[in-house]
Amino acid sequence: MITFMNNSDSEEEPCNERTSLMSAESPPVPSYQDGLQASEAGEAQAHRKRRTGGSRNPNNITDGETPGTGVPVRESTSENEEEELTLKYGAKHVIMLFVPVTLCMIVVVATIKSVRFYTEKNGQLIYTPFSEDTPSVGQRLLNSVLNTIIMISVIVVMTVFLVLLYKYRCYKFIHGWLILSSLMLLFLFTYIYLGEVLKTYNVAMDYPTLFLVIWNFGAVGMICIHWKGPLQLQQAYLIMISALMALVFIKYLPEWSAWVILGAISIYDLMAVLCPKGPLRMLVETAQERNEPIFPALIYSSAMIWTVGMAKPDTASRGPSQQTWDAAEDGRENHRSPSRAASQMSETSPAPTRAVTSLEELEEEERGVKLGLGDFIFYSVLVGKAAATASGDWNTTLACFVAILIGLCLTLLLLAVFKKALPALPISITFGLVFYFSTDNLVRPFMDTLASHQLYI
């Protein structure tokens, strides 16, 4: 099939190879004596080689294999070409975010659909004190709105607290807080999760094995997230803890409160990132001024790093996200949006931050995009809630999934266009909510009625 496509392409435009051949014919053969002429011809040749390479493989542009990266042609790189590169690499980075978001959602949906524990009502968090067990609709709505107000104010207070700590350089406190949160997620919540999964599938496990498994999982996780580790392992751990956090939210947030909270969080996100005095924007700007990375434990980084010959020798010894930020210290412009990370509920208060970041391309590394863990968590909460409460219907879950992916795609497109801090929640959550309610109430009866008559549209 792939061959088929290339054939049809070349048949479509038979002249291209000929014209490229013609342009390859015309460059002068460089003479050995004149070094200047040789370098000029070399530039022209390499430039044309790049062009012929490009036209012969029209499908390869987004795979980052632009030939002649190290060639002196780069010196003539103008602002225009940088902008081209930004948009050219956009598709690849969208996919680099699609995959982890999809994985997180798959883990959450699979757990919700199979493990009964996360759909049982076992009380509520202290952040949502009002119960939704009231018979009247108005009272229930009022309770959910009150719950949302409390939850959002807690989040705002925690975020402002975090920004203040960061501003006054209380790094030890912040690191301690983050380490405590991830300790709790990696050990306690994993233990509960594993216990429930084993219960569901009726598998017996003895305590020594359990201790070994949890200890290894948690210890490697702590090292990968807070220190150094292989990039993919770090990404996997970040996805796991986002999924665990999302499952906790799905279990402990009452129905209507969850939806109102999702809506309110997107509005808060929009304001916190775009308003000049928003806490998240201040956090990002402070980090930018100090040329420091935002806490690596709270951001998912999709950046791939490799070092070519003239790389700085000390970058190889640092952790992955540290590296991307180190490279950014070259003084190039950074584009990022504030991050928001979620931590545990019981011991520490939640302080969600979220980020969508992209770095400029440098000679030594490929640009990466960063997404905050809070985004992962709330996307998964939306899809998980859809899976849990949509009357056993898979269509709603899938519709929400597609909606969130499209929202993410649009957000990344806006990021490429505006090149500044952008919130990743509003568009996706809006689409997700619209699709959830409309699919659950409108599409489901239609498709069910069609399926009962075995009609296809």
């Binding site: 291209n16 070399g42 040749q45 390499a46 790049r50 029209p58 598709a91 219907d393 795609c409 699709f435």
Partner: protein, 265 residues
């Protein structure tokens, strides 16, 4: 029923789609994005159609079974027309995107051709349409139960799976033909695509008389497949060339750069 039935049905319904996605779409980021965006467009069209059907049902007499069946037919027809309308809208969007990508690319050509986008968009419509039609049935097939115990056909599952497979392939072919027709402004082709879609949907109304519905639908699928193949530039000669695995003569000969002194990069 059980896991065996589930996997068998899933294989029948989504085997071709999965193979096509894995072999042709999964490796290219741009195609994956076109795939997901196509699914989004189809979902929006379904949403609008369901809204229309829902309103019409609520405004009518619920007890009248014949009226409800008529409204269902009306809803299905509206849904088909809306799907095609959104396919046209997606064509417009992709055309604009194609121009944009060509503008920002190095050599003035976009990294993905409109034909590839036609194929991927058709595939995306097919996959999401198939998934929405059959996923609940598939999930139900894992659990216990007896098919057709109240007098319905016992072949419900397997015919649903085959219908879904046909639908996926049909949407793919329709996508290719539709985009080509829009490009070349052959409106009779467009009309024919819409008409065959309506016909296919109408034929499913003959279920459970499967001889009258499944066989014609598969014949239509075959015809659409041939038409799409010819539209995309295929021919008997192409197939022979592909099967004989001959190297293309004009892509390797006369590499003038090879004749010149290799320059240091």
């Amino acid at each position: 029923m059980g896991a065996a039935v589930f996997f068998g049905l899933a294989g029948i319904a989504f085997g071709p789609a999965l193979a096509l996605v894995l072999l042709t779409v999964a490796a290219e980021p741009l195609r994956v994005i076109v795939l997901v965006a196509g699914a989004f467009f189809w979902l929006v069209s379904l949403l609008l159609a369901s809204l229309i059907w829902f309103i019409s049902v609520h405004l009518s007499d619920r007890e009248d079974a014949k009226l409800q069946y008529g409204l269902l037919i009306f809803g299905a027809a509206v849904s088909v027309l809306l799907q095609e309308a959104f396919r046209f809208a997606y064509f417009k969007l992709l055309k604009k995107a194609d121009q944009g990508l060509a503008l920002i690319s190095e050599d003035g050509r976009s990294p993905i051709s409109l034909r590839q986008m036609a194929y991927v968009s058709g595939l995306s419509f097919g996959i999401i349409s198939g998934v929405f039609s059959v996923i609940n049935i598939l999930v139900d097939s894992i659990g216990p139960g007896i098919v057709g115990i109240h007098g319905d056909s016992p072949y419900y599952f397997i015919t649903s799976a085959f219908l879904t497979m046909a639908l996926v392939l049909l949407h793919t072919f329709w996508g290719v033909i539709f985009f080509d027709a829009c490009e070349k402004r052959r409106y009779w082709c467009l009309g024919l695509v819409v008409a065959t879609h309506l016909l296919t949907s109408g034929l499913t109304f003959l279920n459970p008389w499967y001889e009258a519905s499944l066989v014609p639908i598969f014949i239509i699928t075959l015809c659409m497949g041939l038409w799409a193949f010819v539209t995309a530039g295929g021919s008997f000669r192409n197939i022979l060339k592909c099967l004989s695995c001959k190297q293309e003569d004009d892509s390797r000969v006369m590499m003038y750069s090879a004749l010149q002194v290799p320059l240091e990069d």
